[in-house]
């Protein structure tokens, strides 16, 4: 096994471990919004590790450039999808936990849900 294969294997395995942990998080967390946070781990770090692992296997080829483009694409699309979910839940009236909104300016809870 060459060095590149070892590094790639390490990256892929740690990516897989992160996927499993994030899955555990989605099951363990109690509410809709908190589960979104667990899914965010999959979008960013796990996907990044996978792409990096495959990139190491490819070496300096066009394939690696394509993988980099996939990563940039993910940087734009996954938060958009995540935000679409959160916003539609908010507009549908889902308030979890209790609807106190903390106002960062005076760091006291500033009352009413809009």
């Amino acid at each position: 096994m060459s060095l590149a294969e070892g590094v790639a294997g390490l990256l892929l395995i740690s990516g897989s471990v992160l996927l499993v942990v994030a899955g555990v998080g989605i099951v363990r967390f109690p509410h809709f919004y908190t589960r979104l946070h667990a899914a965010g781990v999959i979008d960013t770090l796990a996907a990044g590790l996978f792409l990096a692992g495959i990139g190491v296997l490819f070496g300096a080829t066009l394939g690696t450039v394509k993988l980099l483009m996939i990563f940039v694409f993910l940087l734009f699309t996954s938060p958009t999808a995540c935000h679409a979910l959160a916003r539609s839940a908010w507009l549908a009236g889902l308030r979890e936990p209790a609807a106190t909104i903390e106002n960062a300016e005076d760091s006291k809870s500033a009352g009413e849900p809009r």
Partner: protein, 161 residues
């Protein structure tokens, strides 16, 4: 006009990266596709500073570099929360912060970055008030202090079309 040229170059590069071919026939087919795409984009009137912001490309690349570091840090925080045996470690709460981005594009970049870092999700944006859902006090801290807000390149602003 410079947006059209820049888009054309970008399309050529993209075609070549995705295909990897260098035969004359395929090359000319690629050139035809690029010209056709440019014509379509021109007809749809979507070539402007918003669809193709060349004026800020390089500063954004630097910003992404710092963003990746933030993402890794908050990923580790969220993973720690997931693996913690105590279930009272999560403290989900909504946060409303004032953001200081003058342009619409800056707001989008900031809100998207906040969603991209695990542990915080942008829920609603109303003028300069951003509503964020945070998983714990810890993950919400960066948003509360406006760290990302300060990181977005200051000159991300709309160029008069």
């Amino acid at each position: 006009m410079k947006h059209t040229i820049s888009l054309g170059l970008l399309l050529c590069l993209l075609w070549w990266i995705l295909s990897g071919f260098a035969k004359p026939l395929l090359f000319s087919l690629g050139a035809i596709s690029v010209v056709f795409t440019l014509w379509l984009a021109h007809r749809m009137d979507v070539i402007d500073h918003e669809s193709h912001p060349i004026h800020l490309s390089w500063r954004l690349v630097a910003y992404w570099g710092r963003l990746v570091r933030e993402i890794v840090v908050s990923n580790l925080q969220v993973l720690g929360v997931i693996l913690s045996p105590r279930s009272n470690k999560i403290e989900p709460h909504f946060l409303e912060v004032r953001i200081h981005q003058p342009s619409a594009l800056g707001k989008v970049i900031l809100a998207n970055s906040i969603t991209l870092t695990p542990g915080t999700v942008s829920v609603d944006l109303d003028d300069d008030r951003l509503l964020v859902h945070a998983l714990t006090r810890e993950t919400g801290q960066a948003v509360r202090e406006g760290q990302l807000d300060a990181m977005v390149p200051g000159d991300v602003e709309e160029v008069a079309a």
